[in-house]
Symmetry: C3
């Protein structure tokens, strides 16, 4: 099932509009190409509606937001909603500054997101900030561990139910939930945290997976998370002596470039809760 999701990306070559940060944008573009998608970047308010219009999905990442790009996020988001397109939010740094928190919360109020992907702190900030899950279990505020897993999965499902968006919380253990089901995913390597932008890359790739699999949205999001983690494992297995995070970055994208449905199907490690 998850294997089919990446095959559908390669078959349909979804065009993804990215309003994303300038730190990791090149890697986002290359991983989108690697998985079979096609990236376009545009963050000028007067340009984004046209660009979103020709794409199948929109990936909004607030990593280096500014006044102009924030306006672009709203305009592109509204257009994407009007067209029924996939829209994903990556609330980078929500909780770290008032502008980031307010922007993410404001976008959540005004735009219908197909999926929201972030780390536990960012997602928790959003849950609180948007007022949807004020009673969130305090355990969910911590890193997702085997001990806090049930509480975290419950939080993810609750937030998915409240927001109507798929919720993807990535970390040592990854969670991908709709209101009913939560994928608990154990792919990946801790060394991925030493590379800038693996989260941003995943958000771009997840958008492509969602566009290419309209009838299996939860599975598509989970497949993207498994693919990224599995690429981290494959890339790591190919590391040679003396190689570090810069080369590892390339090896991960390379692994996505070669990943077929069968590899993903066999390598994905997940359970449902």
């Amino acid at each position: 099932m998850l294997g089919t999701c990446i095959e559908n990306v390669r078959k349909t070559v979804p065009l993804v509009h990215n309003i994303t940060n300038y730190v990791t944008v090149n890697d986002v573009a290359n991983i989108l190409l690697a998985c079979g998608g096609s990236p376009i970047m545009s963050d000028e308010p007067e340009d984004v509606e046209d660009i979103t219009g020709i794409c199948g999905g929109l990936n909004i990442n607030i990593g280096t937001l500014n006044k102009s790009s924030i306006e672009a996020m709203y305009r592109a988001g509204r257009r994407a909603n009007a067209l029924g397109h996939v829209v994903l939010l990556d609330p980078v740094g929500a909780g770290a500054s008032a502008l980031r928190t307010d922007t993410a919360a404001g976008l959540m109020k005004e735009i219908r997101f197909t999926a929201v992907r972030g780390n536990i702190s960012e997602i928790r900030t959003l849950a609180l900030g948007s007022g949807t899950t004020k009673g969130v279990d305090a355990d969910a505020a911590d890193a997702v561990t085997e001990e806090t897993l049930d509480a975290a999965a419950g939080f993810a499902k609750q937030m998915a139910g409240n927001t109507g968006s798929l919720i993807a919380i990535t970390g040592a253990i990854d969670l991908v939930a709709d209101a009913e089901k939560c994928y608990v995913i154990r792919n990946g390597r801790p060394e991925m945290g030493k590379i800038t932008g693996t989260g941003c890359q995943l958000s771009g790739m997840m958008t492509a997976f969602l566009v290419a699999n309209p009838d299996a949205q939860l599975e598509a999001a989970a497949a993207a998370v498994c693919a990224m983690g599995l690429a981290g494992e494959i890339g790591w297995s190919r590391m040679q002596e003396g190689e570090g995070n810069a080369t590892y970055r390339n090896r991960i994208i390379d692994a996505i470039c070669h990943m077929d449905g069968e590899t993903l199907e066999k390598g994905a490690r997940y359970e449902l809760r």
Copy 2:
């Protein structure tokens, strides 16, 4: 002849001012260094005239244009024209949005470009948008193939004549034309399309080649196209098992870094039409 063009870049180390997109800018800078040039990036309207003034050439790429950078493009372009500098336009996404089409067309009207480099769709949009080639053969709208080659070469020459700019149309087969002659170039690999920014990199490098070869502008532009395609071939020949588009990107720039005149002369595959 083409080999001399890259040698002249290495001898004269042309300084190139790039107003370019933030997606591929790092690769543009590194390929400019690899071929023997020297890159400077600046897109603030109040900064660009000074920066253009100290450079030999200006590379304008509208890939992530915004209101401020558009103003910078006009200001830098006018200054470069006043100084008699090489100016190149890469109309990324012309045809994909009104702002991109209008910006590219507006720049074409107001700035004298030494060369314009894009894919067939972008160049065709410019040809129509600028009103210079309204009767363009419909075949030229398609991908350049062996079947459409004569029509496409004719279109490129006609547009070069109408605009006074060298026209470089890159794809599976590349064309580089002035009003009289058209280089038909068959270097390159299809896998280059899986890397973001090979076109942007070529535009940066072509600007350096044009600056370094004032008396052989058409040959310089063609040499840059051959060099990029040949680097794609050399880089591909060095790919190891499991490597994908991220590593391929590095191997292409590495190949430019090692390319001398003799390698380019021997590896360039072209004919004149």
Copy 3:
């Protein structure tokens, strides 16, 4: 002693706020992760004070400055000063345009910098522009060579005394000075000049070293310079046939990723003047 400085970075994982150019920002983020720090990028004036507040250090790089980011530099700089944080200035292109020179000089007047790192031309421009060292020895204007070394070291110490900032002048020979002492550093490879952004990377890394070593600021700055040069040597020793500047870039960051205190201690080549 210098070895301890990198170990302190790995122990304390300093969070560094970077207002930096979009050309080399990804490499800056990855080298900060490689050395044990943690990067955040933000250049929106309304965001930077919050972000600086949660960080230990601020790295200001004017490489692709614009009106908005210039305002952000001042706001973040003032906040960092108020909080007693480390602040570093990388005056990219000072002397190349009026806006760059004025911005760097203006920042020097209004913000107290812990350190300023640039090439000799940029630093000399700042010295003159800020009016602190009008009589600077003309020899210091040239590249730092064995012949001009004493004059250059004297200039660096004088400027450090006048500005109250550590002064790091990098080139074939690197200088890192406070008012009393000047480290003369001979690590590095000439091929590093063919990679875009080794200077920007060093500035980011130096900020992390300064944050992690509050009681040994001069040594921390010198250690960062030695680490970068040594990584250039180690990375170069690992280059394989056909590899060029794109791969070299990765190998340098990889070398930082693996560098421990002992390696740095043994590999650092410096004297005090």
